[in-house]
């Protein structure tokens, strides 16, 4: 049966249908735009990945070459000349530290991407901990004539030691990466300021260096993997672009946060806060009976 409708109704209905089609078209367009953005990011990531191979080759081969050369020199050296041998040994030691740092970073990144990282908490003395790490960077900083200035705003009144509970290995890698970054991008003969303090159960530290300021729009990108702001292959600053993305992932694992402040003058400040874990672990109150999801029911 044909039902007649008035022209007005027809127009109205058509308009309504056009409107819905237009709406869904718009939504499509929006989604496509989003896809394009993601696609572009993936393309960039792929490109950076191939850059990464050449960067990492330098990072690993340079220290290796010096270790090989130095150890050969020791083997051939006059054995009575201990001073010279010791100098070379200390050079080997510092190169090994550099190599160890890079390898740790790469393995940690691989582990993080495999979802294979869990925090292992233990107690540590925060003052000697920072001092030990700074010592590891001594040689690198001397090369650029840099100085570290540290300040501890922790309650040292009662005892000189200051103990905190955190994941030692991951905390170490977080600090090392931020230090290494500060060293790399500092002006020569400047000072790197390190402040360490504690706010209730938050372990906080900030690292401030004089260098080139990071533009506001780039401040988020620096935590992406394989990203180096100075992506020129001939750039003076070496690096694989993994450091800060690992740092951020590790800080998130320990439920902390990282903040970047950059002044136009070129002072960059990274502030990290990491909470100490709650020891009792009973703060979560579950209720009700266990709900079973076994296999027979389905």
């Amino acid at each position: 049966m044909n039902k007649k409708i008035s022209d007005e109704r027809l127009l109205e209905e058509l308009e309504k249908r056009f409107f819905t089609t237009k709406n869904s078209l718009n939504q499509h367009k929006e989604l496509i735009e989003q896809l394009k953005v993601v696609n572009k990011k993936l393309e960039e990531s792929e490109k950076l990945k191939s850059h990464f191979i050449s960067n990492i080759t330098n990072e690993i081969i340079n220290p290796f070459a010096s270790i090989l050369g130095l150890s050969k020199a020791i083997l051939q050296s006059d054995q009575t000349n201990w001073k010279q041998v010791m100098d070379m040994v200390s050079l080997i030691h510092s190169e090994t530290l550099v190599l160890d740092f890079h390898l740790k970073n790469i393995f940690t990144a691989a582990k993080l991407e495999a979802g294979d990282v869990t925090p292992q908490y233990s107690r540590l003395n925060i003052k000697s901990f920072f001092e030990d790490i700074i010592k590891e960077f001594e040689f690198e900083s001397q090369k650029k004539g840099l100085k570290f200035k540290t300040e501890y705003d922790v309650n040292l009144e009662k005892e000189e030691n200051f103990d905190v509970i955190t994941d030692v290995e991951k905390f170490n890698l977080i600090i090392s990466n931020i230090f290494s970054n500060a060293l790399k991008f500092s002006n020569e003969k400047s000072t790197i300021f390190v402040y360490v303090w504690k706010d209730d159960n938050l372990i906080c530290f900030s690292v401030e260096n004089e260098g080139v300021s990071i533009p506001a729009d780039k401040q988020k990108v620096i935590f992406d993997r394989f990203v180096r702001l100075d992506n020129n292959i001939n750039s003076l600053n070496r690096g694989h672009g993994l450091g800060l993305s690992i740092t951020k992932a590790l800080i998130e694992l320990l439920e902390g946060s990282i903040k970047v402040e950059s002044k136009v003058s070129g002072n960059n400040k990274f502030t990290v806060t990491i909470p100490e874990p709650e020891l009792d672990g009973k703060s979560n109150t579950d209720f009700g009976d266990d709900v079973f999801f076994d296999n027979e029911v389905f």
Binding site: E252, P277, S283, T285, F287, D290, F292, F293
Partner: protein, 171 residues
């Protein structure tokens, strides 16, 4: 049934699969955990992701749903499972914090990606407890494929982690 002594606490953004019988514990808020079980080999694995999609930021870790599910399936296949045999149970995605803006509904988006990606691998979802306003505490037995779940009362604090062991201080 034999006792399983092998327990593992699964942290957010991590995943675990085991050939040996294992009890996997985790605590979920707006995160989603997918338990995969192979009824033939009697092995299982679980992921625990926080956000739906990896958008090129940071590391491509199992913090993101699309990556976490793919990696978990890969791991099960590595252990000898045929992905046609696998079954899934999906938990979490609650709105534990009040949100005013719709696009911040991370829980719901996390759930969506769970079903989408499981669908891609044609893995059937045999059980689920998703959404709602509460957190969840679950325990997955990789030998039997059973999951025990308890709700957690809402709190303003972040989902707390379990008690920890402190190693003795190094001399």
């Amino acid at each position: 049934m034999t006792e399983i002594n092998n327990t593992h606490f699964l942290y957010p953004a991590a995943l675990v699969a085991s050939k040996e019988p294992m009890l996997i514990n985790t605590i979920l808020g707006s995160c989603v955990a997918i338990c995969l079980w192979d009824p033939i080999l009697k092995i299982g694995g679980m992921n625990h992701y926080m956000l739906p999609f990896w958008n090129g930021q940071g590391l491509a870790s199992p913090k993101y749903g699309n990556i976490a599910t793919e990696k978990l399936v890969q791991k099960m296949v590595q252990f000898g499972s045929n992905h046609r045999n696998l079954i899934a149970k999906v938990f979490g995605g609650g709105e534990v914090i009040d949100v005013k803006h719709n696009s911040f509904n991370i829980g719901i988006r996390n759930i969506e990606i769970a079903f989408n990606s499981l669908n891609e691998f044609s893995i059937p979802v045999k059980a689920q407890s998703i959404g709602g306003n509460n957190g969840r505490k679950i325990q997955f037995n990789t030998l039997t494929g059973e999951v025990k779940m308890k709700f957690i009362a809402r709190s303003d604090k972040a989902i707390p982690l379990p008690s920890i062991d402190i190693k003795p201080q190094k001399p």
